[in-house]
């Protein structure tokens, strides 16, 4: 009995300790620099540029991620097709795959190949551009989102769809009228994760988009660049802004989800 109790105590203390350290570390971010310094950095043109760039690219990327992730997640959940297990593992791969290596692979793929040339013909330049930021963010966030979308669809009993089909609705109508609304919660969660991942994407963005000052400088890259210049105030401020934006995003989505739940 006492052995059990002390093990329970051990686990709880460990959990509490780790959480405390994490919170204190995050708090340091806010309290180490002086407020004036933060304010000065916050209003600097570089920071405003980074913030804008990050929010816009992350919003565009997470929208694309959801547009891609929903059909992919649905295919993986509902249909059996040739090579399904391969598709599944490819989607899982980047989770264990270092982001830097992902960026390098993307750079080589979009670099000086037929792919990049055919993109350039239609006026799209990916390497070392803002478009590159979006591409890198999509590849970073898609696996995470697809996973959540997949389990959201798995959570919808297939028989709802079958009943809808038998009542005269085709595959796509059934999907929009029954499956999507029933998977709503998971899709919201997936959007939040996608946005957070896109905001925080660093390694792949740095390599594919180049991380150049006031051009492809998203918030994580601003943090990195200022850190390496020894510009601690700017670096910390980037970190603070990143955290605030993430929290706001989560709050907005939860609010939206709450509103939706009330409506239905």
């Amino acid at each position: 009995m006492s052995g059990k109790l002390s093990f329970k105590g051990f686990c709880i203390i460990l959990a509490a300790l780790f959480t405390a350290i994490l919170f204190i570390a995050i708090a340091f971010l806010f309290f180490v620099p002086s407020p004036q310094e933060i304010w000065k950095s916050m209003t600097s043109p570089e920071m405003i540029f980074s913030l804008k760039l990050s929010v816009i690219t992350a919003a565009v990327s997470s929208a694309i991620v959801m547009l891609l992730g929903i059909p992919i997640g649905y295919a993986l959940s509902r249909f059996s097709f040739f090579g399904k297990s391969i598709v599944k593992s490819v989607i899982d791969l980047p989770m264990a795959f270092p982001e830097l290596v992902l960026g390098l692979s993307l750079l080589l793929f979009f670099g000086n190949t037929y792919v990049s040339r055919s993109f350039e013909i239609i006026g799209l330049k990916i390497v070392f551009t803002k478009l590159g930021i979006v591409v890198a963010q999509i590849f970073t966030a898609l696996p995470y989102s697809t996973r959540i979308i997949y389990s959201a669809f798995e959570g919808v009993n297939r028989r709802y769809e079958l009943v809808s089909r038998s009542l005269g609705y085709g595959e796509f109508e059934t999907f929009t009228k029954i499956t999507l609304p029933l998977a709503k919660k998971g899709l919201f969660a997936s959007t939040i994760i996608a946005f957070a991942r896109c905001m925080g994407a660093f390694g792949a963005v740095l390599i594919l988009a180049g991380g150049s000052y006031m051009n492809t400088e998203t918030l994580p890259i601003a943090l990195y660049l200022n850190m390496s210049y020894g510009n601690l105030g700017m670096a910390i401020t980037s970190g603070i802004v990143l955290i605030i934006v993430s929290f706001i995003a989560i709050a907005i989505f939860e609010k939206l989800e709450g509103l939706n739940a009330v409506k239905s």
């Binding site: 038998s166 029933l182 239905s264």
Partner: protein, 349 residues
């Protein structure tokens, strides 16, 4: 002929159907009965168009519908767990299929109100389906499936998660509603009472194979193998309640008087399990209320049991061991007494 299933085979997960063939006429109430895991549900889902068979064809009238998508078949489905859309209220659940067919809100409203009245769910129309009881959800699910006037209504164990009382009520209601809507029904069950009360055709399935097809009478009087005999062996009688004696009801079954503790009015269907009937060459005195004299008209040995059919004004099946048969000197045309307690006579419909 409305629906013809021809030599249908498929596998889905751990369930399978092996060369199933049967036909359904317009207005039929066909019940597929069999133990759990016998492939009944996937057979139904294949008829609805949710699975592609590995082999075999399905015809609706003269049209081959084997590869027709479910939305084009005009076949509705009611599941055991109802599957009411949780993102819509009861009204919208019922109106869902109608809206696809009729582009007129007033018309839809009229149809929904009508079926809601028939199924006695008018007061539930603006409730959320998750707040309904099992019996209520069941009626909504049937309303939703029936309101589109399907060519065939499929029901997968529709009554199995209801309590006994609600189940009896639902059976009666379903019977009446199917008449009003002139619906052809294929229902799955593992409950024989459904067969007696509802079906005019029965399919017996086990391990993905159809063992016998026939009218309920065929199946119960002439089971073609031991599994069916054991599975369906209960005696089913149509009787009329004629009075009361103490707290027992007195039934008249084709001129024979039986006693039952179950409440009964008018015409009733009763079931007597064969193994609960005691067979004796002599009249014996006991506390059992039902004692009938009859002649053995059939003796069939199946496996390690002997099945007797005794004509005592009503035909009753009973089962004994070969040992007892020898001991009692049982043979065809011999007179015997059948003894069973009042509580063995169960009113099922």
């Amino acid at each position: 002929m409305l629906l013809r299933v021809e030599n249908l085979s498929l596998e889905f997960g751990e369930f399978k159907v092996e060369s199933a063939s049967f036909e359904v006429e317009r207005g039929d109430y066909l019940i597929i009965i069999g133990p759990t895991g016998s492939g009944k549900t996937i057979l139904l889902e294949t008829i609805a168009g949710f699975h592609t068979p590995k082999q075999g064809r399905i015809y609706m009238g003269n049209e081959d519908i084997t590869s027709l998508p479910p939305e084009k078949r005009g076949i509705s489905m009611v599941y055991q767990d109802y599957m009411l859309f949780p993102n819509m209220n009861v009204y919208n659940n019922i109106a869902y299929g109608l809206r696809k067919k009729i582009n007129n809100d007033g018309e839809v409203r009229k149809e929904v109100k009508h079926i809601a009245k028939v199924l006695d769910i008018k007061h539930l129309l603006y409730r959320n389906p998750t707040t309904l009881s099992g019996g209520e959800q069941q009626r909504v699910a049937i309303a939703r499936a029936l309101v589109v006037k399907p060519k065939i209504l499929l029901m997968d164990e529709p009554f199995s998660s209801l309590d006994v009382k609600t189940r009896e009520k639902m059976r009666k209601l379903v019977k009446d509603v199917m008449k009003e809507y002139e619906t052809t029904v294929i229902q799955i069950t593992h409950d024989f009472e459904d067969v007696f009360v509802l079906a005019n055709k029965v399919v017996i399935m086990k391990n993905g194979k159809i063992l016998q097809i026939g009218t309920p009478d065929d199946i119960f009087r002439k089971p073609t193998n031991e599994f069916i005999a054991n599975f369906v062996s209960t005696n089913v009688l149509r009787c009329r309640a004629v009075g009361k004696k103490g707290n027992l009801s007195v039934l008249n079954c084709n001129g024979v008087t039986l006693y039952t503790p179950d409440k009964s009015h008018g015409s009733v269907i009763v079931s007597i399990r064969p193994e609960e009937i005691i067979v004796s060459p002599y009249k014996i005195f006991s506390s059992a209320r039902n004692i009938l004299k009859g002649k053995i008209i059939d003796v069939i040995r199946r496996g390690n049991l002997v099945w007797l059919t005794v004509d005592a004004g009503i035909k009753l099946r009973t089962v004994i061991t070969p040992n007892s048969m020898e001991l009692l000197g049982i043979e065809k045309n011999k007179d015997v007494y059948l003894i069973f307690k009042a509580s063995c006579v169960k009113v099922i419909g």
